[in-house]
């Protein structure tokens, strides 16, 4: 943990440097998912047959996962609240809850995929399924990355260190949640 440069402690733009950086990360993520989902939507609207494929996705699992992510977002923001109250241990507890949510999401998704692959809906079955696995997979990678970073932040928060990071990882986590909020109708419920 090297000493932080003086530059890092300035805030000419009127917000802490860390939060500013996270928003820039999110900006670049928006265009990544935007490009992928944009491509998906174009193909989807061009191929009527794809709604037949979409019919094979499991709405219940998708709904459950959405619920899990929404709930984990709640615990993430409660962790932020606790961190603002300078209550590191409490923030850490909420962060662990959030990580639990993320883990659940990934595990459920793994079972879902296993089932679908078992039915022959593999990534190469056709371009709908290619998009399905690529988009959801890219999102799942973000979830996993979020869980890992959150683990580190939580460890520090427990010792009341770097509490501002609780908010930063929270903002990222909510973004991942928002991405899923759009993936869910696109891949599951729109028939």
């Amino acid at each position: 943990m090297s000493a932080r440069p003086i530059a890092t402690t300035r805030s000419t733009a009127g917000m802490p440097t860390g939060r500013l950086a996270v928003w820039w990360v999110i900006a670049s993520e928006i265009v990544i998912f935007g490009g992928l989902l944009g491509s998906y939507i174009m193909h989807r609207l061009n191929h009527d047959a794809w709604s037949n494929h979409a019919a094979n996705t499991n709405v219940y699992i998708g709904t459950f996962n959405t619920l899990v992510l929404l709930t984990s977002s709640l615990s993430a923001v409660l962790a932020h609240k606790a961190a603002d109250a300078q209550d590191g241990p409490k923030a850490a507890r909420f962060l662990f809850l959030t990580m639990l949510g993320g883990a659940t999401f990934v595990v459920v998704k793994a079972f879902e995929w296993r089932m679908e692959i078992h039915h022959g809906f593999t990534i190469t079955a056709n371009t709908f399924w290619s998009f399905y696995y690529t988009a959801a997979g890219l999102h799942a990678l973000h979830v996993i990355a979020g869980v890992i970073i959150m683990g580190i932040v939580a460890q520090q928060a427990k010792k009341n260190l770097e509490l501002h990071r609780v908010e930063l990882i929270g903002v990222y986590w909510h973004f991942v949640d928002v991405v899923w909020i759009f993936l869910f109708p696109l891949l599951y419920i729109a028939k």
Binding site: R4, I6, T8, T9, R10, S11, T12, A13, G14, M15, P16, T17, R19, W23, A27, I30, V31, G34, G35, G38, S39, I41, M42, H43, N46, H47, A49, N52, H53, V59, T66, L67, L70, T71, S73, L74, V77, L78, H80, K81, D84, G120, F121, T124, A125, L163, H164, E167, V171, H174, F175, D177, V178, I181, F182, F184, P185, I189, A190, K191
Partner: protein, 128 residues
């Protein structure tokens, strides 16, 4: 980049300022769950317009709620909001420029060849 706070404001990362006032998050969460239920039930009516409204209209509402209440976009400096908006606008621009080729089956002096239906309809020919 706004010009207020000249010079070294030594609070910076350590204490949280920026006026994050914490509302009732559980309430927001409850609303989100209700919306989720609607968005799942809506398409079961099998009416296209209802599906679009519930599925995507509600997705936008949910995204708005999360961004406002959980990410606190509303209390960030304005340029954050503008930045996010700009990214979305550019994505729309990309869509508008690309759709005439990718989203169409034929256009001015060109047309796509029909796709082999076996690939299009039967998901079971997993390998080639």
């Amino acid at each position: 980049m706004s010009d207020e706070h000249h010079g070294e404001s030594h609070q910076g990362e350590h204490d949280e300022h920026g006026g994050t006032h914490h509302g009732n998050y559980v309430k927001v969460w409850a609303i989100l769950v209700v919306l989720l239920t609607i968005s799942v039930l809506g398409p079961t009516l099998e009416i296209k317009i209802v599906t679009l409204l519930t599925a995507f209209g509600i997705a936008i509402v949910k995204a708005y709620l999360v961004a406002k209440n959980f990410m606190h976009v509303n209390v960030q400096p304005r340029f954050i909001l503008y930045l996010m908006a700009t990214c979305l606008v550019f994505m729309l621009l990309f869509f508008a420029g690309t759709a005439p080729d990718v989203m169409e089956k034929h256009g001015d002096n060109w047309s796509k060849l029909p796709i082999d239906p076996s690939i299009e309809y039967d998901p079971h020919d997993a390998h080639h």
